[in-house]
């Protein structure tokens, strides 16, 4: 079956999200009844995949590839099945499916190839810790300096990809720290990146892998990767 024009695939990368996956899928089916859903189970040790299977297509990765590998798997599904749009919604419950409509509206207004949901600029809702906000500001400033792109929340995982972005990232998607680095890759390939404000929730369970000393390593590697991509120059899409 070839998906219709304007078809949307919701990609949910998740690992050990058995506690919340069913309610998330229920929300998605209520908010986006016409969308297809693929759950990419990134090597879960619990029954995430079994719980998701009755409600969505499930791709079970036999190894834990990390967020980048899991999202790229979903993008490969979108590319192969011919979807016009693909939206990433994290499996930890941080991204309310109702906010996907904002991304779609923003895409219609701007004709951007990628629309990112930014948790900043809007007062209510979850806004993350001060240390994380500082890190995000530094990455945002670095992106603006190197790529002239103004993204206030470059680490947000809630993002919409159009067909051109799907085709690029299906082939080449960063496996480490994919959110900020994929913005740089998109600009490098002459894709337009926009953002819109959204409300996010605190993660329903689990904790971020970027904590303590990992934060310093994360910043060094992200800023270094962005610089290397800038040195690579622009490439034809």
């Amino acid at each position: 079956m070839t998906p219709a024009e304007g078809s949307l695939l919701v990609v949910i990368p998740c690992r050990n999200e058995a506690a919340g996956i069913e309610s998330l899928l229920g929300e998605i089916s209520a908010e986006l009844p016409d969308a297809s859903v693929v759950v990419v189970d990134d090597g879960s040790t619990d029954d995430t995949a079994d719980r998701a299977a009755p409600r969505a297509r499930v791709v079970r990765l036999p190894l834990n590839l990390g967020i980048g590998g899991a999202v790229q798997t979903g993008l490969r599904v979108a590319a192969r099945d011919g979807y016009a749009f693909c939206v990433q919604v994290d499996g930890d419950g941080q991204h309310p499916p109702s906010e996907v409509r904002r991304l779609l509206s923003r895409r219609e207004e701007t004709d951007a190839n990628i629309v990112i949901g930014s948790r900043f600029s809007r007062e209510p809702g979850f806004r993350s810790s001060a240390a994380r906000r500082l890190g995000i500001r530094i990455i945002s400033a670095w992106l603006r300096l190197l790529f002239s792109v103004n993204i206030t929340d470059p680490t947000s995982g809630l993002r919409l990809f159009d067909r051109r972005a799907i085709e690029l990232f299906e082939r080449r998607y960063p496996h480490d720290f994919p959110e900020p680095i994929s913005i740089a890759l998109a600009v490098q390939h002459a894709l337009r990146v926009q953002e819109t404000t959204v409300t996010m929730r605190p993660r329903s369970h689990g904790r971020s892998s970027i904590a303590g000393w990992n934060r310093a390593g994360y910043m060094i590697r992200v800023l270094g990767s962005l610089t290397l991509i800038r040195l690579g120059g622009r490439r034809p899409s």
Binding site: M1, V10, G26, I28, S29, L32, P33, D34, A35, S36, V37, V38, V40, D50, A53, P54, R55, A56, R57, V58, V59, R60, L61, P62, L63, L65, G69, Q72, T73, R76, V77, R80, H175
Partner: protein
């Protein structure tokens, strides 16, 4: 800096070591456990000290030209260069293998998903109903 030729014992010890080392390496290469490029690099690790004991005057002059106090410093420098070339090669190979493993893992998962979806006994949802509540 004054020249001191290596003793016969030192020369013999190094040459025996290099000989045994080279035989083991060549045997591994013949059995296709290492490729030719790795063989050359690993042989260099043995050949550099051998060159230093077989041609002591040349290495003495080289050390003098390089401005280092002792020829063995030059030897360590040369060995470090070889080690870093090998390290770079290993890191590059590891990155390529990592990409290949990720791509293969994704392909396996997608094929398995397609297979499960087409299997009549599959517990997965009909792809046409994706995203919809089965109830």
């Amino acid at each position: 800096m004054t020249f001191h030729a290596p003793t016969l014992n030192t020369t013999l010890f190094i040459l025996v070591f290099v000989g045994v080392y080279a035989v083991l390496l060549i045997r591994s290469a013949v059995r296709e456990r290492i490729d030719v490029y790795d063989l050359i690099l690993l042989l260099t690790v043995g050949l550099i000290p051998a060159a230093f004991v077989v041609f002591p005057r040349t290495t003495f002059r080289l050390a003098h030209l390089a401005g280092v106090g002792f020829p063995f410093l030059l030897l360590f420098g040369a060995l470090l260069v070889v080690v870093f070339i090998m390290l770079t090669r290993i890191i590059r190979t590891e990155a390529e293998l990592r990409k290949a493993v990720v791509a293969m893992t994704q392909e396996i998962a997608l094929l398995r998903g397609d297979f499960d979806a087409s299997s009549p006994r599959s517990g997965q949802a009909d792809p046409r109903r994706r995203g919809q509540d089965p109830s």
